[in-house]
Amino acid sequence: MTTTTTETTPVIPLPARAAAALTGLGALATAASAAMAWTWTSDFPGDLTYYGSPAGLQWLALAAGLLTLAVLLGSQGVPGLRWVTPAGSNNAVLYAATGTLAVSAYSVASIAVELDGLVNLEPGGWVLAAGGLLTVLGALGLPLDRRTAVPLRIVDKRLFLLVPAAPLVWFGAHAVPGDKPVAPVLTALAGGVVIATGAVLLLQLGHLANTWLRLGKVERPLAAPRALPSWVEVLIIIVAFGLGLFAITFGIDTEYGELFIGCLLFAGPTLAALTKSGLIARLRALTVKHRPVTTGAAFAAAASFPFTQSSDQYTSVATNILIFATVALGLNIVVGLAGLLDLGYVAFLGVGAYAAALVSGSPASPIHVQFPFWAAMLTGAAVSMVFGVLIGAPTLRLRGDYLAIVTLGFGEIFRITMLNLNGTTGPKITNGSNGIPRIPDLEILGFDLGKPHTVAGIELGRFSNYYLLMLLVTALVVLVFARVGNSRIGRAWVAIREDETAAEAMGINGFRLKLLAFALGACLAGLAGTVQAHVSYTVTPDQYTFAEALPPNSAFLLAAVILGGMGTISGPLAGATLLFLIPKKLEFLADYQLLAFGAALIILMRVRPEGLIPNRRQQLEYHEAAIPAQPTGEPTALTKAGA
């Protein structure tokens, strides 16, 4: 951690007043363009042809423009809006402006691409484009927090040899004379070279931008908060969660991929802007102060989601997100707290689901019993836990990579075993690849979850019922995670993760605690599995693979934990939501879906390696005044011999 000196200068030398005016003008123009027609034809998704009635992407432009304006006015010290930027950094304005530009540039570009040409833009579209550009130009003229030193270059100069080589390889591979088809290996290789070249160029571009902008961070204490009555603070929390629910609902309900990408492009810079402005820190302080209210508001916001929906189309997505997120949270105990890399975790979800399916009274189950739901749930969780202990007991004496390989193997063994218990290659229990179909809907205390019910005048369909049930399970898992994580056991897990030898020397029975983490993680995944079996009607082995295009699978679960932030509760929940929605909403990209998804992951991890929501410890790490590094040795790399 080298200390860099910082300065407060504009990137583009403009008089501060003029720059602010320019930004404001741009933001206003962008917001205003939302009320104009962007294109003449309704062929573009969302039908952006009306004056005075915003739709789809236009709402995003409106929101981005207004938000930028608010942040700008706040940082300019306009009375009444100062609360927007308690940290008082102009970088927040730049980030908000970037969000505006991203939305406007993306909208204009996608209209031009899908309708063939800029000629399809109506005046509103031009206003939008100009507004986005002006906003960022103006924001670059504001005095920004910048580093004085130029960052180090990341791309090795020799890699630029790829740039001339790429077209040669590409055309060479595709222009072999004769009728013989080109070997697929060759074309794949050429594709690889082209992608690598693209990556090199992108990195170089990023480096150039970084050299030019030199955005840095100046520690600014937050302005002293105004003393508010307690009920106002509670109200602020509730409003914030309401907004959060609205944003997530908007994201889930996007009917076409263009709008979803627009949402992501808007959300990224906006979150950065809100963080820079200090608003998120302020909100966090409030939530810490009113913890029970926060928990209640979060739960209420989540529970009211089905009431915002008119059909079951998106509640089914939300139910699956909840299942995925709950399992990710369970995995977070194993990976985030205890530091055990488990690559076969989805198998425990499968064990729970199969156990529940077998005792569900499905006609395809060889066990002709129908347990009441609570008993099925206990069965699923218990069976899953037993498997956790069975797998853990012989393998948890291994450390690090070895454990990862063994768990990867277990995941596959589970899937293949379920395939083979089909009556031909093994005893007839699971029907092999056909799985266990026709799992009946749950009935809890006479309440049939399969049928729609009307609550407060709003009809809740089948998925809404399961969504609410699953929410209870999620709440239970959150409770377990929070309480165990912050206890003697949780501390022991973190100690093992940090340094197992030292932990044992402090009296911690490493093996027993690792087994406990493994068993608890398996148990929680099994719990989610019991609900999943009923939600999806059918349990098949293919649902529980290591890697696949759609979650949940082991690779995605791990990605959700790491992307969201290891060791936190909200991290995996947020990570799982994103990881579920991105592939779902990118389906229109067809063959390029996974490529785009991978690129999105790489960018996210490059920008925020500690995860979307880093845990308290990492927060301390980033926010405590840096103390010069000490020669603390190499605690993690040491073997026993070094102790």
């Binding site: 409770l479 377990v480 309480r483 165990v484 206890s487 003697r488 056991i489 949780g490 501390r491 022991a492 973190v494 100690a495 940090e498 340094d499 030898t501 030292a502 932990a503 044992e504 020397a505 402090m506 009296g507 911690i508 029975n509 490493g510 406990l516 608890l520 410890r617 990492q618 301390l620 790490e621 405590e624 840096a626 103390i627 000490q630 020669p631 603390t632 040795g633 190499e634 605690p635 040491l638 026993k640 070094g642 102790a643």
Partner: protein
Amino acid sequence: MTTTAAPLLEVTGVTMRFGGLTAVNDVSLTVGEGEIIGLIGPNGAGKTTFFNCLTGLYVPTEGTVRYRDVQLPPKPHLVTQAGIARTFQNIRLFANMTVLENVLVGRHTRTKEGIFSAILRGPGYHRAEAESRAKAMELLEFTGLAAKADHLARNLPYGEQRKLEIARALASDPGLLLLDEPTAGMNPQETRAAEELVFAIRDKGISILVIEHDMRFIFNLCDRTAVLVQGQKIVEGDRETVQNDERVITAYLGAPLDDTAVTPREDSTPAVPETVTETDQ
């Protein structure tokens, strides 16, 4: 031998071999109640290996370790539970935990709250947790780290990381504390402060076995000092005995040019002077 009471720790004939290499060779040592014992020797003499044999990190090839007249099981966590705590030569804190949490981890063996108690959070849980925290804060006061309880361990300066290691070890209510080079890398003032700390720990009724290279530190502190050379204990005794022992001088300073000056004084360790001269060439 000046043991005033029955020995707290009794090590008899511990030998540790790694394949053909004998790192610790037939070392016996006793530590009495309330004693501070020093363990010195040149680099590679097997001091840390000897510590690892005591704390269960290694299972000694031969020999026994008895603590309060009970043979110690060769598992680190059971040794700690029995009442022996240790620090590490190269600091091994839980870097990403706070200072307070580090000490709370040290309380692990002295508390029993399990997973169900943690989920249900009954009154017993809250009582135990509050007790642990009070005890941990007390130890942080004792070592002078209370003001930094909420800092991350990794962000502490070097000297305070050493102190935190000691506080963490003390949290397990040990009867014997093993310190592995507690003043390595410290300046003279810090070393003096560390001396004070070691005396203060002894005054709590905890015996101490300390590895150190700083001779002044050792001779100021220790009731007895054992010298380990090439895995063998060549001498044990008070300051005068050790300082005037020619084999110790040879081990540290090398043999005088005149080989005849080196004469083995005890028959039990005939090989040592020769091997030392050998390495010296």
